[in-house]
Symmetry: D2
Subunit: 423 residues, 4 copies
């Protein structure tokens, strides 16, 4: 993020008492106070359009009325707040609603695991069960993948700076080229070259893990053909396919699961971020019944039963009872694509190229620091938008899915003004 | 947990839709509905005394009135719910209150890191920064340690069943004997034997990580002398000392930090569970300023800013503004110790021995399955209490710290009846 | 190797007393007695042309007269046989001759390390010093590489069957595609794609290790252009380049070092096999002086001073005092290439393609088991020749370099007859 | 070794051309020329008594007449020198003689594996087969163990300086305390405490590897009781027992195998050093037939068939045809023990304590550098003797087993004079 942002005296507490590891409070030096829908307000009364959505956690916007209501009611009734994996009404309701509204209509059958309330917990549990079930060690991940910051998830994350943070070598993983990684090379074929060759040095893996659209890695969207090919390779070589749908799932690309248009069925699916509906910590790992070979308690975690998140999650599922929501996301995604195209055309100084799909799109720009400067300027002008990619080269648009056309238009207006100012 | 518990038809949803990994809902086959203070109610109207406190997450009891009030108010005002590590009022308030009420009066100075909202996130971040700062790989942990289920935390966890769940070898760790592990051996001296010997095979570690009272490992309380010796060894050999105070901290043993009576200052402290006050997911990693050498964003996580938890946490600190709460915990701990002693004396069939300190105590029993049977019978009689230890040999008492004498007495009454029934 | 070879009662001792791991004595079921030049005799008086040369260890043929003489004289004089790395005359003579005859005329400057008398010892020492000097962990190796069977060398070896033999995951290595590995892809460019990308998941490596001609991996010869590109990449990214010249060095490809035609200077070179001249165990690791940062004794080994091998090695260097030997190897290599071409043309049933360079060539055949059958039949007809490649798909020709044209011709005659019989 | 040794101009070649890793040529700055029995001569005509025996490789002394004869004869007859694991007469003779003379009379049954000609090759192969057979990863080794310098062997070697040379973390090993490591603790009981405890953090190992007398680690001799206990633990917990008898075997402690007096049968035995009789590179791995589960070629190595070593080895076995040799070793060992006791008594300035058994004994001294100074002075006075132990605190006596009493007496005379000079 930009460095030329004026000092905000409100930020002193964070600078003095909080660890140097803090990041967003550096790029967006404000104290945020309230939010509704796709708008955020800071303590000085400034309002921002949200093209960030809590890094994909607030697909249903801020402070959805019905979720607020249900949560307040639950608290007032002395509802069980913390319950590990004990039986509670909200947990029961979540399991039923998820099965009835999400899985069944898509002809999917998965056992639901609560691995702890964060994405990295879900990824770690997916890697563990894949290794247990297959008796193998290696996991194939892809260039520019991001799966989390605990040791197992970090081992399948591509970012070198973040990997180095482990302080120890990250083992048992191989990084294959993601779709489009090398011009003119079908990277699925390339991967099969390794799998088919007894001398390739790549041991038969337990699993392949992938994001269909790489969020942190630069809004790289895999083609449906490529996903089908990878899925077929997994079947052919008896490898489990894990789809990390933490950022791209929950409707972000237009369908509930991001892989639906490819017609594939992963063996394991990781969900977090917007699964909790309201922005509360929650994660699930979906496991095909035949691979649900856990012993009781073999993976656990104190916060694996966040009842408040279950309640909001159930509310969120109402968006999926018919196809209206899905249709509206797709319309807005088309609008966004057009806006991106227009900006790239209008401002050749961007050396821009479009990225992504659904409401997970971006503009990759051609000059160093340019994306960061645009985001910093956008913040000054009232738009919250962040960069992505290994060189922070992508301006990334992740508005709440419930945003309306007016909000989108206003966001792109601020963005355009910011581009003009920066160029 | 016991296997002879009658089927509860309410549990079918969990059995059908949830992963085999679920555990507490097997031992306590009920759907829990509401809770207040130290009491829990299930959907069939049964009431239970809580000697479990969410595995140490509910030190301040269920649904504290003032926390409820503050949370409802925040939601009503459209407060920012999810914010990663952006600046918000609740995060600011938490940092200030923690510094003013907890750190300063104890003459402690730490930078506060929000590593993600679970204990294992805190442990992973602690291991990372210790390795970065020292440039070394090895971590010394102790027999029967429990630090979490993600790959890094699991590597310092002693339980073999849980370790095996990783599916890959767990590297870069050495398990030294905890205090009292071998009769007649001063295990701190033993550890120094290894550190001082250039041929011991134990490479100079980045850090030593320990719990002062091992919660999952069998309520093993280290003596203050041993803690001092380990602390001195760390200083002597230039090793960082990490105290995982996730279960034993937050007042559980009588002082806010469990190591206070030893007069030591760890280099890194992990807090979670009850730090969030209300049972909401939250964790912090405290790092001595000189070791806070993170680069911005070197560790991150989507849910590292759980504002609802910050609000409840600040409310919880009111318990620490004077010494009343601390004193009451110590009184109740003394009462608990006496009750334990009495039960061991009265029921020689237990072959019991006392464990732990503060409101983190237990009875280790001498016969296989006996502890599980007692807990199952206690559940039937209206007491929630679980086992602990590598062979589930300990009945573990972790009531909310706010329990009153009457509650404690009632709990022990049920326990005694259950012991009688089982023996 | 073929399974239809008749039982040889002489082999019973091996079958009864030796481990199941034995391999060559299965494919060539004979007890060998004596050998001279390029001919071997078994105990039943059968004579074989040697197109194998001890897997590249007998470049100077069997029982070179002058080596025999020198060795007998040394033994008779009670010369020091075993000396670790103490000073002895043969060690001194070797160091001087190697420097004067091999290094200086090629304008090369390396410190000579004796890492233990086998190739894998040399590779292990190379990996260790590369990691020490750079402070990094990762090593880049290539598909179908073979570097040895101890844990470090095995981790950079591509063969999956042999890797699995480790019984533990092999860490800290990445396998890049060797030259020509993927049709139409410049694999050096591909490798740079990974190195240049901060998100590729491939951490900056300590070293790249390669064979210029992969012996066990299928006689895959890298082009000089590719070697230059890899060398340039190493310079650009500050990575050490290790050339494992254990099989391809010692004149096997026509020059003493196999990389000479590329005009590159590796940072570390591994030599073994024919460096000992007579077939006696010996290995050296050549290290650029600026990287010779070992502490005394940081790597050692009981047999790192094999004086008998030093004596024979010095004799072997006489072949390199002028260019006659080199020229003769090149002539024979050209003859071999022609013969290979002719066989492929004449026998389309082979679906053959030529492999390799120098006197390290082969025919890759298109049908499963065909190469093994040809080798088995050749053995029955008096030619010792083995297969290579991840699917044993290459018939590999490695005659002693001192073979004459008549010997080569006779060998290819037997080969042709064997091909006819098998097809 | 001592630093005050005068420059020897003969050593310049080594200083200039050889790697900094060289060690013995620093402490013993001479060029050695010839040797017979227990005496060595340098190029300047100085004679030395050998109390070092090539670090245990020359148990049968230098240049045994009959071995010389047989080797010369074989070379003269153009015997096969290099043969990988093809059948040859010397290999056959070795297998038969080893079985008939060594194994059968001791009621032992092992398959013989030729893993490559060095000790570390044998250890690596032992670890591999143990992991394969059990399907487990962890190996238990002991404090101050030395097993070799390649990555697998180094991982079970205790010396921190040598471990650090790996440049990567050494995984999958646990270091238990060797016999007598902690005063007053039965370390076998201690080890069982870990094995029996499901929470100890020590995963069930594939194997335990040990030396009965730790040569490099300080001449620490395990008691027969301790060996029996460790053996029984291995049986009880279904763990393979590997005895690394590379230095302590081949008669060094009085019996052919060092563990014979304990009456135990290891599952795997590593032999090297003196197994080759004449000081030529050779190693074998002995595997109980039921564990010989190698696939053909799953482990290999170019120099695994060193025929010259086989020939000398067979000659060496003549020493074991009756008990004379064994008896003489035991007599000399008793003499050595008395001399050590006398020196310790006579020179209290040594603060000496005796170490070891058989002809593998030493004096541990109480002052830093003292052992090194004694060895340096001994060298100046004509005795070759080295230090051992993690702090080089032991003067280590390893004369050839064929030494006579006069030789021993002369050696101890020089030693005593050197002690006097140094103190």
């Amino acid at each position: 993020m930009g460095n030329d942002i004026p000092k905000n005296s409100n930020m002193e507490v964070f600078e003095t008492l909080e660890s140097e590891v803090r990041s967003y409070s550096r790029g967006w030096p404000a104290v945020f106070e309230s939010a509704k829908g796709y708008k955020i307000r800071d303590t000085e009364g400034r309002e921002y359009i949200d093209f960030f959505a809590g890094a994909g956690t607030l697909n249903y916007g801020h402070n959805d009325d019905r979720m607020q209501e249900k949560l307040i009611e639950y608290i007032k009734n002395d509802g069980i707040i913390h319950s590990l994996d004990m039986g509670t009404n909200p947990r029961k309701d979540f399991l039923e609603a998820f099965n009835d509204i999400i899985l069944k209509p898509r002809n999917l059958s998965y056992k639901v695991m609560f691995p702890g309330p964060t994405g990295t917990n879900s990824v770690e549990s997916a890697l563990k069960i894949a290794r247990k079930v297959t008796g193998r060690d290696t996991i194939i991940s892809f260039t520019n993948a991001f799966h989390g910051m605990t040791l197992g998830s970090l081992s399948v994350t591509g970012n070198i700076f973040k990997r180095r943070g482990a302080g120890v070598p990250l083992a048992d993983t191989v990084f294959m080229p993601f779709d489009h990684y090398i011009e003119g090379v079908d990277t699925a074929d390339y991967m099969e070259r390794y799998l088919a060759d007894n001398g390739s040095g790549v041991d038969l893996p337990a699993a392949v893990i992938l994001e269909t659209v790489q969020g942190e890695g630069g809004i790289n969207a895999a083609s449906m053909d490529w996903l089908k090919k990878i899925h077929a390779l997994c079947k052919k070589y008896d490898i489990l396919l894990i789809v990390d749908d933490i950022q791209a799932g929950n409707g972000r690309t237009g369908t509930f699961f991001s892989f639906e248009p490819a017609g594939i069925e992963p063996d394991i699916i990781c969900l977090s971020k917007s699964i909790g509906g309201f922005g509360l910590p929650m994660a699930v790992t979906l496991i095909k019944p035949e691979y649900d070979q856990w012993a009781p308690g073999e993976h656990n975690g104190t916060f694996r039963g966040n009842n408040m998140a279950f309640i909001a999650a159930v509310e969120a599922f109402r968006y999926w009872k018919n196809s209206d929501f899905e249709n509206s996301v797709n319309e807005k995604a088309a609008y966004m694509a057009k806006e991106i195209e227009r900006l790239i055309r209008t401002y050749p100084g961007l050396q821009g190229s479009p990225r992504g799909r659904g409401l997970m799109q971006g503009i990759a720009v051609g000059k160093e620091n340019l994306a960061s400067e645009i985001c910093a300027e956008a913040f000054r002008n009232g738009l919250i938008v962040e960069t992505s990619g290994p060189a922070d080269e992508v301006v990334k648009f992740l508005p709440p899915l419930i945003i309306d056309k007016a909000g989108l238009a206003e966001g792109f207006e601020i963005l355009e003004k910011s581009i003009q100012n920066v160029l």
